[in-house]
């Protein structure tokens, strides 16, 4: 069909010479192609030109040209470009915009082949006009230039292709890269135009394709320069802005997703690109402003979620920037966002949203994100402002009892976030803190939600955060609940605590609750000894449930004990540990009391735990600061709680208060010493399995003996007895048929300090100290036979000597007061000493033989390669002899005994004793004879004997009866 107006066109006129119909390039001021006809006087119009020379242009001519451009021969391609340059410049109207785009796109594909002549021709055709005669760029904006618009559009089309493999996927980026490398001046103008399409292309193929990884890697390389990133950010920002002006919120969302993708996947040079925030902030402000519209006035909340997430992510990046100055757009954005948030909160409080699971899920998520963001953006608000309506509403929402638990939790999280920001030193939050005021009530509400909310994990997490940021508030809130006088309420509070404890251990194994403010935990432990059985029961249940995480209970106690240190001086050689400044003795006593309570109530689990669990690193750090640790070489790398507790016990057993600290502190410290002893004894008693008890005892023997010796130096009579009890405990309660036990006993008896300690104890002026030591010696007599070997004689000799010395001393002062009441030696004292002597004699004369035959002793002998029974018997016999030889000396100076009224001599039962005057072996018979004649020639009737004399008779009589051959010393006439 011939276009109108062409009917008169001369059919058959030859126009073969195409040069005649070239579109004039010289006339830059017009877009109309000028056609000249050299052969004809009549010039033809562009319509005529199109009709005759480019029939079916869109389908035929353009395709033919594309075919030529894609020809396998470079010559064809060159010809095609030459034709395009001469006959179809982009600024002419000969081709439509889309046709030009198709041709340029086909031309751009040739850039991949890297043929210089082709590339030169392509640039000449497309962007030749933006270069002046000297080849430098003439600035023409894309908006004002069709050719550039075509160029941009063709690049867009390149990114719209569907790649099949890595090569074709990278091709668009490669082409764009080549264009920008060859024409640096164009990057500023063209990259912003194609940024959105390019990022979308990268986003579309980011994953799920076999070439995705390669494409991403190529994209990252391409977009590695700051300049390019800035241009892309600008482009994305202005696109967002334009879409918002258009109120096309579907596309706004798409662009937001795109920004988010680019932010997370491509802009990884966060550190390098410091000025990014400059470009991010406007985008950020625009998103803030768009919130209300995005949600369609708070109707469809799911639309806002991507935007809210992006805000969160940008906030994280902006947070790293040193300068957080506000600016106009941002202030407006923040204001609009806060308005949006208040409206949102109001709707939630009014219950406007449907509670069906699907839509409520979106509302909940949107509210959570919005709350987080509204708190975070307060940094851009002037710190001098007064009040914050949104915050008041938030607090109201928390107080509202009808609110769903999730909403309350989100609100509380917001409040806790404010405190966290404040703690990190951001001043903008200071005035917000003033607005809250009711933090105690808020935390109490949070605490009450344990076990009530479907999202227990969230509740526990928030309590964890609160514990970190406001431990005092949390602790006092929990204590208030725990100290309720009403037992059921108290039990309820305890159960809640127990539940929290359990959940916290389950969800956050590394979190130790109430580390900085452990008072509430201590209350729970103290309830183990509460008067009310229900309370006790609850506390015990809690403890039983916590067995897997006992460190959470022990750590706060131990750390408090370690932190409660003072200045101290140690002398490892002498074994002295002296406090030179006071510490809080109450804390130490309480700590031991609590440890004791736990141990008593959960023996098996705690001992298992102590012996098998390495100490937490925090405690190890604290332990390393302890000066006194050099005294007790107990805790090493990866050692258990047992070692640490042993260290603490020993430290507090051994620590002596300097006198300068005053009598009160000295007394208080003595109480701590006693607590330490008590606890150490408890540990030793409860070691599980009991076979390991000697192993544990081995660690403490040396420090204990040193401590015991020191108690005599310091004249600390209480500890003299207490530590002896521990030593005794080790020897008897930690007794097993093991080599270790035998070694322990040998370690004790063989210690150079041991004899001195026994001497000091036996010779003590104090009746109860002395009686303890006599009792100890009585109890340990069988062990001497077992473990001392040839040294028994020496040991018994000394013991008898100390006893006799003391007997003499006591008898001398008996019944009289010497320097205060403590030196009163009475009948009991003498009887005690006599009891000791009796025990020694009784053991060696009547029991030792049987002892030597004991089965377990024989077994022990084999184990320890001890002297055989025969050798031991020789030792015992020698000891007997020694006793017999010395028995007379035992009663020297026992004036008190013999100054009793002489009893009547009855019948033939006479008892003679030596005594009063010192004697030697040489004059032994003479002396005996003398005393017999002069003083002791009396007969004693049993019932008329004094108690002392009865004691002596009880000692001597059996020996005489049994060993008449050795009765020179004691004669019964």
């Amino acid at each position: 069909m011939i276009p109108s107006g062409l009917e008169s066109f001369p059919i058959g006129k030859v126009y073969l010479n195409q040069d005649a119909y070239k579109v004039s390039n010289t006339e830059a001021d017009t877009n109309e192609p000028r056609v000249s006809n050299v052969d004809s006087e009549k010039s033809i119009t562009s319509d005529e030109l199109l009709y005759h020379f480019y029939p079916q242009k869109s389908s035929l001519v353009v395709n033919a040209l594309i075919q030529c451009l894609q020809d396998e021969y470079v010559f064809t391609q060159r010809c095609a470009f030459d034709f395009l340059s001469s006959h179809m410049p982009l600024k002419s109207d000969l081709l439509s915009f889309n046709e030009k785009v198709c041709l340029v796109e086909a031309g751009c594909c040739l850039l991949l082949k890297k043929n210089d002549s082709i590339i030169r021709r392509l640039y000449s055709w497309v962007i030749g006009h933006i270069k002046d005669k000297e080849g430098s760029d003439v600035f023409i904006s894309v908006k004002n230039d069709v050719a550039l618009q075509v160029f941009v559009k063709s690049m867009h089309n390149l990114f719209r292709g569907v790649p099949k493999d890595a090569k074709s996927a990278n091709a668009p980026l490669q082409i764009v890269k080549t264009i920008f490398e060859d024409n640096e001046g164009l990057t500023d103008r063209l990259l912003p135009e194609i940024a959105s399409v390019m990022v979308r292309y990268l986003e579309t193929y980011k994953s799920g394709y076999e070439f995705s990884e390669e494409l991403t890697s190529f994209g990252r390389k391409f977009l590695s320069s700051e300049k390019q990133l800035v241009l892309i950010w600008q482009a994305l920002g202005s696109e967002l802005s334009e879409l918002m002006v258009e109120e096309n919120y579907k596309k706004v969302l798409q662009t937001i997703n795109l920004i988010k993708f680019f932010l997370t996947s491509y802009d990884s040079t966060k550190e390098k690109f410091a000025s990014k925030s400059k470009y991010l902030k406007p985008i950020f402000a625009r998103i803030l402003m768009s919130m209300s519209s995005l949600s369609n006035n708070l109707v469809i909340m799911e639309n806002t979620i991507p935007a809210l997430r992006l805000i969160s992510e940008i906030l994280v990046i902006l947070e790293k920037e040193a300068q957080l100055e506000s600016f106009g757009l941002m202030a407006e954005g923040v204001k609009k966002f806060v308005t949006f948030y208040v409206q949102f909160l109001s709707l939630i409080m009014e219950g406007k949203y449907e509670k069906d699971e699907e839509s409520w899920k979106y509302v909940e998520e949107a509210f959570s994100l919005a709350t987080r963001n509204v708190v975070a953006i307060q940094v851009y608000v002037d710190s001098d402002r007064e009040g914050a309506d949104w915050l008041n509403r938030l607090v109201q929402c928390i107080e509202e009892p009808k609110m769903p638990g999730e909403v309350t939790l989100i609100c509380i999280e917001g409040i806790i976030s404010i405190y966290e920001k404040l703690a990190s030193g951001i001043s903008a939050y200071r005035c917000l803190q003033a607005c809250i005021q009711k933090e105690g009530e808020i935390i109490a509400k949070l605490w009450d939600m344990i076990g009530q909310s479907p999202n227990d994990r969230k509740v526990v997490e928030l309590i964890k955060r609160a514990d970190f940021i406001m431990p005092v508030v949390l602790s006092s809130c929990v204590i208030n609940k725990l100290l309720d006088d009403h037992p059921p309420r108290k039990v309820d509070a305890m159960n809640r605590f127990a539940l929290f404890w359990k959940l916290a251990a389950e969800y956050f194994p590394l979190f130790v609750p109430f580390v900085s403010e452990p008072l509430c935990l201590f209350h729970m432990i103290d309830f183990l000894n509460h008067d009310h059985p229900l309370v006790r029961h609850s506390s015990k249940s809690w403890l039983a449930e916590s067995t897997r995480h006992l460190d959470r209970i022990l750590d706060p106690i131990i750390s408090r004990l370690l932190k409660n240190s003072c200045e101290e001086t140690c002398n490892k050689e002498v074994g002295q540990l002296v406090y030179t400044s006071p510490y809080d003795t109450r804390i130490a006593i309480d700590a031991f009391k609590r440890l004791r309570s736990i141990l008593i109530n959960n023996k098996t689990d705690l001992t298992n735990f102590m012996m098998n669990t390495p100490v937490n690193q925090d405690l190890v750090e604290l332990y390393r600061k302890e000066k006194s640790r050099q005294m007790f070489d107990l805790l090493r790398e990866r050692d258990t709680y047992l070692q640490l507790l042993l260290f603490l016990s020993l430290k507090f057993i051994r620590g002596q208060a300097a006198e300068k600290l005053g009598p009160q502190f000295v007394t208080e410290n003595a109480a701590v010493n006693a607590c330490g002893c008590e606890f150490l004894e408890l540990i030793l008693t409860n070691v599980e399995p009991s076979e390991r008890a000697p192993e544990v005892a081995a660690w403490v023997i040396k420090p204990l003996l040193l401590g015991l010796q020191n108690t005599f130096v310091c004249k600390d009579s209480v500890m003299q007895v207490e530590i002896l009890k521990l030593v005794r405990h080790i020897q008897f309660k930690c007794a097993t048929q093991s080599r270790l036990y035998a070694e322990n006993c040998i370690a004790i008896f063989g210690d150079p300090l041991y004899m001195g300690i026994i001497q000091s104890g036996l010779e003590s002026d104090l009746s109860y100290v002395r009686s303890s030591y006599i009792s100890y010696v009585k109890a340990t007599l069988p062990l001497y036979t077992d473990f001392l070997g040839e040294n028994i004689e020496f040991m018994i000799n000394h013991i008898m000597k100390y006893l006799s010395n003391n007997l003499a001393k006591c008898s001398a002062v008996s019944g009289s007061k010497v320097e205060g009441e403590k030196c009163i030696a009475n009948e009991n004292d003498i009887l005690q000493i006599l009891g000791g002597v009796k025990a020694v004699i009784h053991h060696y004369f009547f029991e030792a033989d049987a002892e030597l035959e004991r089965e377990d002793r024989i077994a022990l002998q084999k184990l320890m390669n001890m002297p055989s029974g025969k050798k031991a018997r020789v030792c015992v016999d020698r000891t007997r002899m020694s006793i017999l030889e010395n028995i007379g000396g035992l009663f020297i100076n026992c004036q008190r005994i013999w100054k009793q009224p002489k009893p009547k001599v009855i019948k033939n039962f006479k008892l003679t004793h030596i005594g009063v005057l010192p004697f030697t072996n040489q004059n032994y018979s003479d002396t005996l004879d003398m005393y017999y004649k002069e003083q002791f020639s009396f007969a004693l009737i049993e019932k008329e004997f004094t108690s002392y004399q009865q004691g002596i008779i009880a000692i001597v009589l059996p020996i005489i009866q049994r060993h008449p051959g050795n009765s020179e010393a004691v004669t019964i006439a």
Binding site: G12, V14, Y15, Y51, H52, P55, Q56, A64, D71
Partner: protein, 121 residues
């Protein structure tokens, strides 16, 4: 000779009937003929030109059936270095344009470039 037989050379009766009687069959055979043109020697090309002038240009609308091929080989002939041959080709092309009209003539050129792009090389 085939042309002579078909066109009735020497047979006035046949000549009178004109080419229309057999034009369609000429178009049918032509593709076989055209393929020789590109690689033909100069003297053959000259003869070829004459053949086209003599027989093809005489055709009426039947020439359209073989126009694609004809223009295809003539375009190749434009590259010829021999002036006589080139002149002959140009004459033929002008005659063809006149015969089929400019629109058809150029339309065919574009079509030929789609169908056999490497004719330019």
């Amino acid at each position: 000779m085939i042309f002579q037989i078909h066109c009735g050379d020497g047979d006035p009766e046949q000549a009178k009937k004109g080419p229309k009687a057999w034009g369609s069959s000429l178009a049918f055979y032509s593709p076989g003929l055209f393929s020789f043109y590109q690689f033909a020697k100069l003297d053959v090309k000259l003869k070829f030109n004459d053949l086209i002038k003599k027989y093809y240009l005489r055709l009426g609308s039947e020439i359209l059936a073989c126009l694609n091929g004809l223009i295809g080989i003539l375009l190749l002939g434009l590259d010829d270095q021999n002036e006589e041959a080139l002149k002959g080709v140009e004459d033929i092309l002008q005659a063809l344009e006149r015969k089929v009209g400019t629109r058809m003539f150029y339309g065919t050129i574009w079509l030929v470039s789609i169908l056999s792009c490497n004719i330019f090389s």
